[in-house]
Amino acid sequence: MSGGFNEIHPEPTTFWSKYIISFDHKVIAKQFLWYGIFFLGLGGMMALLIRWTLAYPGVPFPVIGNILFPDSAGIVPPDSYAMLFTMHGTIMIFYAITPILIGAFGNYCIPLMIGARDMAFPMLNMLSFWFAFLSGVVLLISLGLPLGAAAGGWTSYPTLSTLIGQPGLGQTLWSLAIFLFGISSTMGAVNYVTTVITLRAPGMGYFDMPLTIWGLWLTAILNAIFVPVLGAGVILLMLDRVFGTTFFLAGASATAGNGDPVLFQHVFWIFGHPEVYILILPAWGIVSDLLSFFSRKPAFGAKATALAMTAVTILSTLVYGHHMFTTQMSPLLTQSFMTLTMTISIPSAIFFANWLGTIWKGSIRFDSPMLFSLGVVFVFGLGGLTGLHLGTVTTDLYLHDTYFVVGHFHYTMAASVLLGGFAGIYFWFPKMFGKMMNEMMAKIHFWGTMIGLNGVFFGMLMVGYGGMHRRIYNPFIYESLQRLIPINTFITLSAIMMGAFQIVFVINFFYSLKKGPKASQNPWEVGTLEWTIPSPPVHHNYDVIPVVKCGPHELGNPNLKNGRDFQYQTEELVQG
């Protein structure tokens, strides 16, 4: 069905229709980017508050502590601590990573990289952003409530999240916000899947799509299928909280029937495990492409990478039970989930080997997007390996709910996705805004982030292995954990350092936006479709819909004669 239904929509003229209620995928992508960066900052501040409390229990948080917690003289109080880690998780996953990786890159890259003029359903796209916006507003309002925002963990297990554990309105608003965000994600997913299937440029088969598009497409499929599962869960949670139903409240089974708190965990993780891959797949796709672009050679086994990502997508729907080994699951089930979980190693190892194969003997250009991509290869390797200990029942029973888990999922979901997101921002910034970012500052940002992040998350793996439990306000009241105070201080200092280096990024971003040198049409010298048009692209992207004649990674072909080491996807493959 390539070729598409590509109308040229009239260009909006008023400020309102151009920047606010815009139907243009490029504008919506930028809206999602601002939205995501705002929440990334907020979630990051929360992380620093959490880390401060763990390293210096009972010491007031510097500078803003007195403003935030006037009643406790600037010390983070225990209830606020629970709220902080809950909201940190929620914000980072739903309001920072999802908008940046899926909302911003998905909207920006999909039509441009497949040669379309816009998304399949531009209005749905606009609604998707404004539902996300509404959801964000609801979440922010919940932060200002007298009893505080949700504090039952980002997983919101009952009974912590029922009226017994959370009497305030915060948890209800949390459920509402997540539901609204789910609507937004589903709308986006419907749009992305349809766009990729129907609007590919003539000649572009599925394996001619850049791997970025593969990642985003698989993500969208998972979103459409599994976000509604969480939707159902949070609706029932809301009914429990507002109307007094007892879906997740255990009662006397003979007379009242029996609600089931563990059911929420099942529902949550049926969604939650695919969600992990929803977050990481776009980053995998971006990294797979960028490694090839900056190694100046074709992506090694690109087809195998695409199929391996598909295999992971399918397997990801079958392994959710490994989050629940400690909920008295039958050994038969835990063993089955363990086996399925271990099976994911196979496709993961395939594309990981392909990444290494791609950079092997390449003439690597160490530009900032490449540095961040190599960073992803490193941190995702570590994250994947630590996953083995958690997927195995025997070791997970000991490591469950320790900082080892926190370290592991931060390596996979936070570190990999963050670095992948930065790689994407540095790579597509010239196309998005028509300006180049400062390369020196980008490299400083990379090394600061990379060193800081490994200090934080490797430290977490160590204290977790040492037995430190997550979600405890002051773990050091346990004598056995007191020897972990120095490592915790080290983690916190690393976190502060990492946070400080993000200021370099923000300065670079806004300075380049205003004063950066003008970007050429193709500053990175790669051949995918978005680089065949001016930076930034015109409103309708392509004056003439391009015809695709070769794959996205045709770099370093020895037969190329015209002084370039790459060819555009619109050019016939050069043969000897």
Partner: protein, 181 residues
Amino acid sequence: MRRSEIQHGLGMTMVLISGTMLFATLLMGYAIYRTSATAWPPMGTEPVNVVLPLLSTLTILFSSYFMHQTRVQFADHKKAKMNLDTTLCLGILFMGIQMLFWNELKSSGLLVGSGIFSSVLYGFTWIHAAHVVLGLCSLVWLRLVFKPATRNLDVKLLNVEKFWHFLGAVWVIMFLTLFVL
């Protein structure tokens, strides 16, 4: 097939997959409640009177039939419009019967907070009803644009029809599992 038909059809398919997952999750929960309960309905609770749910099932089935007829008689615009009007009326009637049903539950002493049995009855029918409201909105929208000159009217009709049949199918499954079984 025309491009718009494929594109919008695919979009609607994705919406229906999402909707299916939402209701499948609810039914999975129901299966667990039902199988883990020692008695269903719990001791001391009378089984629900199925007359009103049966009526609403018939209503939504008839409305689905007329929705189908709208497309079958699409060539005859007047007839098609009448069928669409009938669908809309039956849809509203369905909501009316659901409200009577909730009132009946309430007057029989089965309140929302009376335990998991009533939680399932109220919660699931509410969630379904909320989707029926969405379906009714799309029917009203379709009715407003139902003019021969409207571009791609057949595609719009087909997709609204799919959504409406989906709501009917979900209700039939709910009726069979919650009230008959």
